[in-house]
Amino acid sequence: MSTASVPVAAGTLVRRKPPWAVRRRRFLVAVADHSLLIVVAIIFLTPFAFIVLTSLMTNEQALSSHLWPSPFRWHNYVDVFREAPIWRWAINTFLYSVLATLGVLCSSIPVAYALSRIRWRGRDLAFATVLIALMLPPVVSVVPLYVMWAKLHLVGNLGPLIIPNWFGDAFSIFLLRQFFLTIPEEYLDAARVDGCGELRILATVVLRLAKPAIAAVALFSFLYTFNDFFLPLLYLRENPSHWVLQIGLSEFRSLHQVQWNLTMAATLLVMAPVIILFFLAQKAFVEGVTLTGVKG
């Protein structure tokens, strides 16, 4: 993305001022473009608006054709916490997300380094295994893994969700490797001349230069585990004390026979952490997503 600005600037230099008619046409096209964009943007935002509005209604209103709450029932947000152990779900979720993300980082960075900056026989083969794992749908392996965890008596707690992340994640390894490859050799050589071992180089030079990629991997991993529903459904279903937010939310209606207004309030609460995280780390997010697309 950063390279894009260079040709643009070069282009504007040569450009002569276009005649008035052309400018008028361009202006009208721009207006049309923007208004279409604004309409689509509003459509994209309406679901959020309705979630917020419904979360402030009484249950009767939520099941009526009124779209605007009257009166506003802020108390719903107090009731949600009373109806469901949201704090416990949140703690479980963060345990899962944080420990899994740490695991992904600790295990994937060294692997990506070995696959990109050290030469050894069999490296291509090892990288091929990463690519293969990347292409395999995880759904395929759930049955034997479930059997394995059941035999280890770990079904029903967070173990089966967290542990695999400490043994390398194909997507993260791939992303990091691609990024490590772009680090100029001179930096590493300079460090080697200074007498650094490979581990020192990894810990100092590479980690420092690969910050955007590492941030992206951490964000994706956090987001993925925070939003994950499938694995928690398999492994935690029968043990409510270990439920994560996504399971709790999906069972919210049947569990407490509560109403749509409270359900929407809970929905909003579950969305909130990710959205806040996004606004705090917007740049890392966008760079990260771009990285996946361009490097792929």
Binding site: G11, L45, S107, V111, M135, V140, S141, V147, F167, M271
Partner: protein, 332 residues
């Protein structure tokens, strides 16, 4: 590598050879240490399940007693008898052939519009990206509410416009389109990838095309599409893989839309695929057999089939792409 460069020209003495040997050994140990998480991970969480899947698919196994070898019976039942496999495959194909293209098209359209915008690119990017962040469970629940045929805001608004809105998640004709709407709402990731690719396209190409008298459509056809075709390929591949694993939204939508939390009634609500099996996608079927009925053997047969199909499809897409994808430079 610098070491080898230095030592290459030096004469081989026994001591040097030993030193080299030691260095190589140290290096091998280092690589092994760095690679160890992946070596273990690949074997335990990839190799083992793969082998186990194949083995279990020839057994009857309910996790209560040990697996019983039954030969090809699971596969025979899968291909000739199971009345649910056909519809599940068709439903998943629907996702691949209709939902994925719509997602890609829509993401591309929005990205093009945002790229053309002179002002507020950051703002629009945020707006279109936000829904992609919403956890799938939460987003699905919200959509089931929004599309409630009786009281949902969408049908209420349609009613004010004099349109008798459809039954959305409650009707087998509309349930997949409803899920498609949900997925289009969440195209943020694709959109950002496209946007970056479009903004990355060399501006001179556009200018020279414009000088040659190419209109906006021609510029799109001859400049934009070729330059971003690798990105389109990438998006299609990940979207197809995602469609083959489509589970969470289907599970939650069916669960909530069918609605009846039977508390004192006698039915365990078998609501997977509600309504009328129209949202019973292949992974949902796999879940039903594996984790509702605990027919681990049969579920393994289903996953082996999915594995083969997923691999074939991915390879086919990438193979055929050579024809139309334009690689500007070395991508990898």
């Amino acid at each position: 590598m610098t070491e080898t460069a230095v030592t290459a020209g030096a004469p081989f003495t026994a001591e040097r050879r030993r030193a080299r040997h030691r260095a190589a050994w140290r290096r091998r140990r280092l690589v092994l240490m760095l690679m160890s998480p992946w070596i273990v991970g690949f074997c335990v969480f990839f190799g083992y399940p793969l082998v186990m899947s194949v083995y279990l698919s020839f057994t009857h196994y309910d996790l209560l007693s040990s697996p019983k070898w039954i030969g090809w019976a699971n596969y025979k039942y899968l291909f000739t008898q199971d009345p649910q496999v056909g519809p599940a495959v068709r439903n998943t194909l629907w996702l691949i052939l209709i939902m994925v293209p719509l997602q890609v098209l829509f993401a591309f359209g929005v990205a093009t519009m945002v790229a053309r915008a002179k002002r507020g690119v950051g703002f629009f990017r945020t707006v279109f990206y936000l829904p992609a962040l919403a956890p799938p469970v939460a987003a699905t629940m919200a959509f089931v509410y929004l599309l409630n045929p009786a009281t949902g805001p969408v049908n209420v608004i349609l009613g004010h416009l004099g349109i008798n809105g459809p039954l959305w998640f409650q009707s087998p004709q509309w349930s997949k389109p409803s899920l498609t709407l949900l997925s289009i709402w969440g195209i943020g990731n694709l959109m950002i990838i496209f946007l970056a690719a479009i903004l990355d396209a060399p501006q001179q190409l556009y200018e020279s095309a414009e000088l040659d008298g190419a209109g906006p459509i021609q510029r799109m056809r001859w400049v934009t599409l070729p330059t971003i075709s690798p990105v389109i390929l990438f998006s299609v591949v990940i979207s197809v893989i995602a469609a083959m694993q489509y589970f969470t939204q289907a599970y939650v939508a069916a669960n909530i839309a069918s609605g009846q939390a039977s508390q004192a009634g006698d039915q365990t609500v078998n609501n997977l695929g509600y309504p009328e099996g129209s949202t019973l996608f292949y992974p949902v079927l796999l879940y039903q057999h594996g984790f509702r009925f605990f027919n681990m053997g049969y579920a393994s047969a289903l996953s082996v089939l999915l594995l083969i199909v997923a691999f074939t499809v991915t390879v086919l897409i990438i193979r055929n792409s050579r024809r139309w994808v334009h690689y500007a430079g070395a991508v990898k």
